[in-house]
């Protein structure tokens, strides 16, 4: 039986992305490991030991582990696809794919899968590092897994849209610096939004990262500031809308075909 051409093409892009991630592991995998180790040492052990329990029976260091893993997943899935796809535009080898019979959705799926895999690899690395500082109990494995997957997909798609519009390398650095990092810090990684007064608590609910961090925290620790159905609805809505935008841009050749 001959292989489905789209499956082969999808596998080719995914494989190429994984090879790239592993080839430049000092740029793709190591930085998050170092940064998160520092977070665990400073915020978890040094500051966290003074804070003690933040919720019923939950130490501060345990509380921040889910948020830090999500922070790594978000920055890595976004950064992987934006730099890789923009690099292919910049070096013009995106034309190899655009001039091939591959449908647009295969190109998108291949790049997103590559970025999601980097997010998952980094999540595992950060999880492994966290085990040096605390013990993790997995309360809801499926919620944990589905949340990390959905989050990686949402930010891969967002990174892809960024790369499509980007004309220079600065354009793919702006969003992580001025949008992603602030939203992540304000997304309940280090604190519970219930501790905030009005109107900051309400404003925080406009931040999609809040829902992702809380769903993941629920999966790992069994606590959340947000009802699970709301968190899933937000994540799914972002995934669907961003996928539709990315696919439309790719089909129309925005920033790719003249």
């Amino acid at each position: 039986m001959s292989a489905n051409p789209n499956v082969v093409a999808f596998g080719t892009i995914t494989r190429r992305e994984v090879v790239r991630i592993l080839r430049i592991w000092m740029q793709t995998l190591l930085p998050s490991a170092i940064t998160m180790t520092l977070y665990f040492v400073i915020f978890g052990r040094m500051v966290g030991s003074r804070i003690g329990e933040i919720a019923d029976g939950i130490q501060y260091i345990d509380y921040i582990v889910p948020g830090l893993i999500m922070m790594a997943v978000i920055t890595n899935s976004y950064g992987n696809i934006s730099s890789s796809f923009f690099g292919s535009k910049f070096g013009r080898y995106v034309e190899e794919m655009l001039a091939s019979p591959m449908p647009s959705w295969v190109i998108l799926a291949g790049y997103v899968t590559g970025a999601v895999l980097r997010g998952l690899i980094v999540a595992l690395i950060v999880l492994a590092i966290s085990l040096f500082f605390t013990r993790i109990h997995l309360y809801h494995p499926w919620i944990t897994l589905s949340t990390v997957l959905l989050t990686a997909i949402v930010f891969s798609l967002a990174g892809f849209v960024n790369a499509v519009y980007a004309k220079k390398f600065d354009d793919i650095a702006l969003v992580p610096t001025f949008v992603l990092t602030p939203l992540t810090y304000l997304g309940g990684v280090f604190y519970s939004v219930n501790q905030l007064g009005s109107p900051w608590r309400e404003i925080s609910h406009a931040n999609p990262i809040l829902y992702m961090v809380n769903a993941f925290r629920y999966g790992l620790l069994g606590i959340s500031d947000i009802p699970m159905w709301t968190a899933y609805a937000v994540m799914l809505a972002f995934a669907v809308v961003l996928a539709a935008i990315a696919l439309t841009l790719l089909r129309r050749g925005v920033g790719l075909r003249s």
């Binding site: 082969v8 093409a9 494989r15 034309e95 190899e96 001039a99 091939s100 003249s258």
Partner: protein, 315 residues
């Protein structure tokens, strides 16, 4: 029985967002198995046309069919039939040639094992096998050009489009590329070639189209185009300086320097009579050569006048 053309371009138009009208209604037909030259000056619309055929540029209107398959209605099926060697290097310089070729095959749905065999075959045929597992950026300019051809051959296309494949390549490598492309054509692949080396087009191609300012100004066989060249210019190197320009009926002489003359003459006028007249006047010719390649001379005239009748008019 009529044969489906390898390429059938119908009233293709392209206006870019900045208002530049790159193609103003191009129609063109290339028969299966042909070795076809698409010539034109810089900015004539060649690359836009090739960009549309390979789906890298969106057409404004019109259509093109590759072996009967519309690039607008059945893009994927049409792209499966085309191989493209673009003008600019467009592969990842950090990847290895073997991986570049195998990945290209993968984009066309060719399984990895088969892709590996093809990569080895084409990289060997193009004398790149010893560089197959080194980063592409370490290769010379000529090697990079050949890699683009090997990559385009990975899908074994029925129609191969080469956009200035030998630009900046030394003559030895250029000749080896001609040999390879001729063999591909002889094996049944239709080839469309754009080049600024007109002797290359004259040697390789059977049919030709000249595009200028977004319009096809000539589309015929190479033989019939060359037959339009009624005037040829020769450069004569003399034994000794000649003081005055000789006057020979049917030949217009001009001086390049003391011992070099240019002779422009009608093709109806035979060379023997010119030499006899020069000998009679005591002018000895040491050597003679064509001032320019025949196709080059025609090309310049056609583009200068901008009409298909230019060849005759210039004569």
């Amino acid at each position: 029985m009529t044969t489906t053309p390898a390429l059938d371009v119908v009233e293709l138009k392209k206006t870019y967002a900045n208002g530049v009208e790159a193609l103003k209604g191009v129609s063109l037909r290339v028969q299966p198995g042909d070795f076809f030259a698409l010539l034109g000056p810089n900015g004539a619309g060649k690359s836009t046309l090739i960009g549309i055929l390979s789906s890298l540029v969106n057409p404004s209107s019109g259509d093109a069919r590759i072996f009967g398959v519309s690039i607008r209605e059945q893009r994927s099926a049409a792209m499966r039939l085309i191989g493209l060697v673009p003008q600019e290097l467009n592969f990842n310089m950090f990847e290895k040639p073997f991986d570049i070729c195998v990945n290209q095959a993968g984009f066309y749905g060719i399984p990895r094992a088969e892709a590996g065999e093809r990569a080895e075959k084409y990289l060997k045929q193009l004398q790149l096998w010893d560089k197959a597992f080194q980063p592409a950026r370490t290769m010379s300019g000529g090697m990079k050009r050949r890699l683009m051809i090997a990559r385009a051959m990975m899908s074994e296309p029925k129609l191969l489009i080469l956009d200035e494949p030998t630009a900046g390549v030394d003559i030895e490598i250029r000749r080896s590329m001609w040999k390879f492309i001729s063999a591909i054509n002889a094996a049944g692949t239709t080839v469309i070639l754009t080049t600024h080396y007109l002797e290359e087009a004259e040697q390789l191609c059977r049919n030709i189209a000249i595009i200028d300012k977004g319009r096809i100004i000539e589309n015929t066989t190479m033989k019939s185009l060359l037959s339009k060249l009624d005037v040829e210019t020769f450069v004569l190197d003399l034994e000794r300086p000649c003081a005055n320009l000789p006057e020979v009926p049917g030949v217009a002489f001009s001086r390049v320097d003391d011992v070099t003359l240019e002779a422009e003459m009608s093709r109806e006028h035979d060379l023997n009579s010119m030499f006899a007249a020069l000998t009679e006047r005591g002018i000895a010719v040491r050597s003679m050569r064509n001032k320019a390649n025949r196709l080059e001379e025609l090309f310049v005239r056609l583009v200068e006048t901008g009409s298909a009748d230019a060849g005759k008019a210039a004569a």
